[in-house]
Structures are given as C-alpha cells and as structure tokens.
C-alpha cells in the first residue's frame, strides 16, 4: 500500500517537473534576451547623446580648419600681407599633396622690396593662419632685393 503511494507521489513530482521545466527554461531565456535588449537600448540612448556631442565637436574643429578653396582668395591674402613698397613678383602653385590628414597646396612666392619691408611681409605672412611658411630666402638681384618663400596653403575640405 505504502509502496504504491510513494510511487504515485514520485510520479506526480516527475510530472510537475516535466510540466514546469520547459516553462522555466523558456522564461529564463526570454529574461536573458530582454536584459540584452535593455542593455542595447541603454547603449543606444547613451550613444545618441554622445553622438550629438561628437558631431558638435567635429563641426567646431572643421570650422576652425577652414581651408582655402580658391586661388583668388589666396592671392588676395598674399597681396594684403605686403608691407609698404613691396611688390608681389611671382606666384607658382605646385601640385596638391597630402601632409598627414591635411591637403596642402605648395606655393612658391616672390616679393621684391627692401630688407625691412620684406621681413615685415614675412612676419605678416607667418601670422596669417592660411599660410604656413616652409622655406624663405632673400637674395640681392641686380640692385633689388628678392624674397622667395615656399608656402603651404591648407586646401579643400580637410579630412
């Protein structure tokens, strides 16, 4: 009699386990999935906030880079940089080349004038952010003084 009752109890427990095991496993798997989705959503919200900051920072840097796009603008600046009695004698643009992340237009420029005026012109050029002075030479040529400067001009849209 007792053996029969124990068997019944054992069978009942097995039946209950058989009924609840798949349910438990399914619930556990779903909870895991939900946790993963929640995590992705939280990361997405954080990313959206960060994306705004990164975009703003990128725009700010791009506006600071402000590269030239036309030779006429460069020419205007070269003319404006001249000191009194300095003549812009020659401009020779070379091939565009990439310097790291920047696209550069090499410009060989020649000015004619007196020493102090040419040095002042070089000073003005060096303080102008659109130009990067690479080399510079002054030579006396048949009574007049010639300054040859190799400039790099940041060019185009940047990286």
């Amino acid at each position: 009699m007792w053996r029969k009752k124990s068997f019944l109890a054992f069978a009942s427990v097995l039946l209950v386990l058989a009924l609840f095991l798949p349910l438990g496993l399914r619930l556990w798997r779903l909870a895991e999935e939900e946790r993963a989705v929640e995590e992705v959503l939280a990361q997405g919200r954080e990313a959206a906030r960060k994306l705004q900051e990164v975009s703003a920072q990128e725009d700010r840097i791009r506006s600071q880079l402000q590269a030239e796009r036309s030779l006429s603008a460069v020419l205007q600046k070269l003319v404006a940089a001249r000191a009194v009695d300095v003549t812009l004698a020659k401009i020779t643009p070379d091939q565009l080349h990439r310097e790291g992340e920047l696209l550069m237009l090499p410009l060989a420029v020649e000015y004619l004038g007196s020493y102090p005026a040419l040095l002042e012109t070089m000073e003005r050029l060096s303080s102008e952010t659109a130009f990067l002075i690479r080399t510079c030479s002054f030579k006396e040529d048949k009574g007049s003084l010639k300054a040859s400067v190799l400039l790099w001009v940041p060019w185009g849209d940047g990286p």
């Binding site: 209950v16 619930l27 997405g44 990164v54 020493y115 102090p116 030479s137 190799l150």
Partner: protein, 178 residues
Amino acid sequence: MNINLLPPHLRQEEEKFPWKAALLTFALGWLCAFLLVFGWGQVRFLEQRLELSQPAKEQAQLVLGQLAAAEKRLESVSRAQRSLWAHQRSSEAFGELLSQLRWHVPEDMWFTSLEINETGRFLLTGRVFSLAGLSRFLMELRQLPQLQEPVLQSTTRKDAYYEFQIEAKAELLQAGGE
C-alpha cells in the same frame, strides 16, 4: 451499530476516505494549473514585448554604428587640427625669428642673402663696416631661442667693408612636423 468482536490483530478496519490528502492534491493541482497558465501567459507577454522592442533595438544599433563612424571622423579631424597647429606654430616661430633679425641688425650692417630651408639650415650673408658690429650681432644671434649655435663661417675684407657668412640651425621647422 456494529461491534467487532474479533481480537485486535485480526480486525480489518474499514478504510476511510482520505479527505485531507484529496484536498491537498486538489489544491496542488489547481495551483500547478494556475502557475502553468500564468507562466505561459508571461512567456507570450515577454515574446510580444521583445518583438515590439525590435525596431527600437535596430535603431539603437544604428545609432551605435553612427557614433562609431562619427568618433572615427572626429579622430581624423582632430589629427588634422593637431597637425595644422604644429605647422602654424612652426610658421609663427619662423615669423618670430625673422622679426628678431629685423630688430637686431646694427646700423652699419646690411644683408645680401638669407636662406632658411626645410631642413632648418639658416644661412645669412651680409656686409658690415666694422668687425665689432659683426661680433655684437653674432652675440645677439646666440640669444635667439630659435637658432642653435650660430657660427661665423667666413669674413672677407673688401674695400670699405667686410663680407660675412653666418650659418646656424633653425629649430622651428623640425618642430612643425607631425
């Protein structure tokens, strides 16, 4: 009324219905059924919720991808900015050096040639009326932070003046590279 007259070990009592066990089984059965129905309902609910959150999840993944791309772009423009700053510093130092030269030329001296190339070679030739003036100028050149060890390469006596050549190493252009 029945009276069992058998000795106790031979008596066969009539089995009573196990009400307690039946009630317990019944209650447990209901509880299990309820838990099963509730559990599978919960499964269905969670599945629906996951299905509904799928577009939001895809959107979040898209934003994560956009952020990664934006960070890459930012890194690139930051590198460009650092590079430009380095070049600008170099260029400003160049201007500073030329400005210093402009203010340190003695009255009895004039330059005939000045060259600063990309390797930083600084070559200056000029004319001066007195060697004392040249010596003072050389001393002043040594004070300039952008110039390393200015050396008087040659001095040649001409009619009324001396022709000289000074060579030095300009630091500024090396600092400009990335």
